[in-house]
């Protein structure tokens, strides 16, 4: 019988976690287990200190807060064509709870337990994918549609009588800058014309 030996020497806490993963991986290989969907080991059967973030698809607006705050790059974000895809490398989560605390929409919850598939396949598990907003001018995708809607509504609710002389709705930041430059250029030409006439 073919035996595969696994080194289980534990020196510290992080090592312990690694050892558990190694055993699980060896077991999965031994029985030929290839996960196709998330395999969650519930909290009661897991040791303390294990958990992973889950996302409420109705609440998430697709901003960058969780992705930017995660110290272990557990949360992945990828813009594929016109969709923003959020993923989770659940095994890497250190349960620091930062994403849960900082999510502006309270869309993230850290649930205790352990998820095996992300570790075995080493690929993030797709959480949700959101529609992206396309810039009306350059046709690039610059933010999630829900995010843009959310921000615009917030601006409208908090600033009355908002006066912006350039039409910027539906434009990416780069095109917004170009828009101002163009507006300034046409003003400049107007002034130059006035000056030539001697009216100035």
């Amino acid at each position: 019988m073919n035996r595969k030996l696994v080194d289980l020497t534990i020196t510290d806490e992080s090592h312990k976690k690694q050892a558990i993963y190694t055993v699980l991986k060896a077991l999965a290989e031994a029985v030929g287990y290839q996960p196709t969907e998330p395999f969650i080991i519930p909290a009661e059967e897991t040791m303390e200190g294990y958990g992973f973030p889950i996302r409420d698809p109705d609440k998430c607006i697709g901003c960058y807060a969780c992705y930017n705050i995660c110290p272990e790059q557990v949360i992945t974000l990828e813009d594929i064509e016109n969709r923003r895809v959020f993923g989770t490398l659940s095994h890497a989560c250190v349960v620091c709870n930062k994403c849960q605390e900082l999510c502006p929409q309270e869309a993230i919850e850290i649930v205790p337990g352990f998820e095996l598939m992300a570790y075995l396949t080493q690929t993030p598990i797709e959480d949700i994918n959101l529609e992206l907003q396309q810039c009306e001018k350059c046709h690039s995708y610059f933010a999630a549609s829900k995010h843009v809607e959310f921000v615009e509504e917030k601006v409208q609710n908090s600033i009355q009588d908002l006066h912006i002389p350039v039409e910027q709705h539906g434009l990416c930041p780069e095109c917004r800058r170009k828009q101002i430059a163009q507006k300034m250029q046409s003003k400049w030409l107007e002034q130059a014309a006035l000056f030539m006439k001697g009216g100035g």
């Binding site: 901003c63 960058y64 807060a65 930017n68 705050i69 900082l102 502006p104 933010a143 995010h147 843009v148 959310f150 921000v151 615009e152 917030k154 601006v155 609710n157 908090s158 600033i159 009588d161 908002l162 006066h163 912006i164 002389p165 350039v166 910027q168 434009l171 990416c172 930041p173 780069e174 095109c175 917004r176 800058r177 170009k178 101002i180 430059a181 163009q182 507006k183 300034m184 250029q185 003003k187 400049w188 002034q191 000056f195 100035g200």
Partner: protein, 168 residues
């Protein structure tokens, strides 16, 4: 009116020195908070945060990381910023960026550290053509003789219209 950085129309040649020097003084992020844009390959403009009187970025920040100082400077508190990108979407002029290294929002802070030392903002000091000027708009206009004020600083009206949300 608060002191601001103003752009004088027919002086800029698009050398991008303001961009370089901005990235340098805001070491180590190396991101310029100034944007030099050239329209029709001829007309160059140097743009930055307008420090709006009623900024759109301020109310959208959930972390309350954006504030307006008494001097009218709109500042982002790096400690509080969570990098969600709300302000980037909210800014109607596209003047806020997300730094991919520090994962925080960055924008012009009018070189507040330099102002405290009694210096002008770095882009103003280093603009070889004096296309950028710093100060109170009304004072700046009265400083120049009428002819020049009419030719060059008419841009004041333009700036009031373009780089301000309300009274600017």
């Amino acid at each position: 009116m608060p002191n601001k950085v103003y752009f004088v129309l027919n002086r800029c040649l698009g050398c991008e020195e303001c961009q370089r020097v901005c990235a340098k003084v805001h070491n180590p992020d190396h991101i310029s908070r100034n944007f030099v844009l050239t329209v029709n390959d001829f007309f160059s403009f140097s743009l930055r945060c307008a420090h709006c009187s009623e900024p759109s970025c301020l109310p959208v920040c959930d972390q309350k990381a954006i504030s307006k100082t008494e001097d009218g400077i709109v500042l982002i508190d790096v400690e509080k910023c969570n990098g969600c990108g709300n302000c980037v979407v909210a800014c109607p002029f596209g003047m806020i960026q997300l730094d991919s290294d520090s994962k925080k929002a960055v924008k012009c802070d009018m070189c507040i550290d330099r102002l405290k030392e009694g210096k002008e903002p770095a882009c103003v000091e280093n603009c070889a053509l004096s296309a950028l000027i710093y100060g109170d708009l009304e004072e700046l206009e009265s400083e120049h003789d009428k002819e020049i004020a009419r030719k060059i600083l008419k841009v004041g009206d333009l700036l009031r219209e373009i780089l301000a949300t309300k009274e600017g």
